[in-house]
Amino acid sequence: MRFRRYAPIAGLVLFVIALQLALSAAGAAYYFTQITMSVYYSLVALGLCLLMGYAGQISLGHAGFFAIGGYTSAFLTTHNIATSGGGSAVRLLQQLGLLVERQDLYGNAIVNLSPWLALAIAMAVTTAVALLVGLPVIRLRGHYLAMATLGFGIIVYRVVLGTAGLGEADGFSDVPPFRLFGWLEVNGRKPFAAQNYYIAWTLVVIVMLLGANLVRSRVGRALRSIRESEEAADALGVNVARYKLTVFVLSAWLAALAGVFATHYRGGIGPSEATAFKSIRYVAIVAAGGMTNLWGALTMGVLLNFLSLRGVFGSYDDAVFGAILIAIMLFAPDGLVRVPRLFRRIRKKLDGSLSA
């Protein structure tokens, strides 16, 4: 009985594996790159879905968190700390195995932070920023909240665009791979394409699992109650402010995590990841999937990003997402993806025919 609730996740895993086998067999393995990137982008959408659909808070600046994660990790794994002094700290990190030594083009020794340490720092920075932004902003409603988060996103964009140390308009382009454990590595090299495909999907499956659990739990109910009526939820003992902030930080973490992994996968990151249009895209994806629908956000996230990356929308890329936003809000405010409902209807039909 307990295992029935995990059936959709199992279905997803089977689908992922089947897709990989099918594409490899058909010699279409070149799709893996775009699928992998789409999967990382949909991770951001999942976090945003929790924030918008469950806590009822809109955010037009989530690309900013993706960028914070990606840029922090990119910077720390490419910055030669040997030039920055701090000898004893460097030696300590070296002893803990948290440094990576390489050689640059001229044979000089470079010392960078290990990607794991960079990841930890990136998450810490994200947490700090999310709290700093979230605390004042979470009290706001409607268009005030939208504008405030938009403003935050733009500040991040301006900072990464305008700071020489962050590559300005070019960003970073020589980010090293991220060795997870043993031979498992996040990188963009062709022989590793299938491996990275699975790494990305594993992240998403874990998040879906945790997310689906959360939504059905006491906390999930509390979040939904906040979205329905903040006043009533407050009167029932739900600490509305704290829950909103927690979900905000959680969604920031997911975006930053996606940013870190995607950056190591692509070997780089640029200011285009932090634009307002990127943020708005994520909102369009969540809206199209149905605000409260994690599966919808995942489906739309992978689908729409994949189509966009393959250039199907051409130079009308942004326009398509704008049109999607409008169309969904006007004609299908509950989103397009009804997978759970579909499952339920199928199950009801099966139950009916069995008992007949």
Binding site: L210, G211, N213, L214, S217, R218, V219, G220, R221, A222, R224, S225, E228, S229, E231, A232, A233, D234, A235, L236, G237, V238, N239, V240, T246, L250
Partner: protein, 256 residues
């Protein structure tokens, strides 16, 4: 002398130039049904909102079992076991009736984000307890058949019932009702009277803001009449009915 469950002292609240609550000294005895009545604008709902933490008074204290709770946030006050309903039903329309009542169990359960995400075994038991408690309350109130219906689809009267069930799920010691009879017909009001009396018999103290005089006179143990923000008269229902000042503010000079 009953123990005083809740009392206010020197409570003041302004809305711009309007002195809505004026040096209010209210005492709610434990186990009572106390009715707060008065003409429109007397400050009844404002007082209720201040007690529930939805509004902050400009000055004065609110004490619960002697402990000051002035200025506490609504969720903190709920955590003390003070439940409230709203003038217009604030159900969670897209959640089912059962889920609405389950949210009422929020302060009586503990599973947080981590427990929720990882679906730990100790949370299985808690979840089941929450579900059963919610269902039990719905059955007590005769609403169990609607358990899986989205709350927004219910009729107005039954929605009110769900709001009650949700508040009772908190196992409160004090229940604040804001015009619960508004919009109910005679039969529904009679049912409401029975329900509130049952609630009092379960040991829950009730403070009710109401305009329906027959309901008030029928069920209250104590009546407090507010006028322009302060107490005009208080006492047993029968005494209030005969009080000339009260009659004057409700019906005008001629009837005093």
């Amino acid at each position: 002398m009953d123990r005083c469950l809740l009392d206010t002292q020197g409570l003041n609240r302004f809305f711009g130039g309007l002195h809505a609550v004026r040096d209010l000294e209210l005492r709610v005895a434990e186990g009572d049904i106390l009715a707060l009545i008065g003409p429109n604008g007397a400050g009844k709902t404002t007082t209720l909102n201040i007690i529930a933490g939805a509004l902050k008074p400009e000055s004065g204290v609110v004490r619960f079992r002697g402990k000051p709770i002035t200025g506490w946030k609504p969720h903190a006050i709920a955590g003390l076991g003070i439940a409230r309903t709203f003038q217009t039903t604030r159900l969670f329309p897209r959640m089912t009736v059962a889920e609405n009542v389950q949210v009422g169990r929020h302060i009586r359960s503990r599973a947080g984000f981590l427990a929720g995400m990882f679906h730990l075994p100790r949370t299985w038991k808690e979840e089941r307890a929450i579900r059963e408690a919610a269902l039990a309350i719905l059955e007590k109130l005769g609403l169990a058949e609607d358990a899986d219906t989205p709350a927004g689809n219910l009729s107005f009267g039954r929605q009110r019932g769900v709001e009650f069930a949700r508040a009772l799920a908190m196992e409160p010691s004090l229940l604040l009702l804001d015009e619960p009879a508004a919009g109910l017909n005679i039969y529904e009001t009679a049912e409401l009277a029975r329900l509130i009396t049952r609630i009092r018999d379960w040991g829950i103290t009730v403070v009710i803001v109401e305009h329906d005089m027959s309901l008030v006179m029928e069920i209250s143990d104590a009546v407090v009449v507010l006028h322009e923000g302060s107490i005009l008269a208080q006492g047993k229902p029968a005494e209030i009915q005969k009080d000339s000042e009260v009659i004057r503010i409700y019906l005008g000079e001629d009837h005093a």
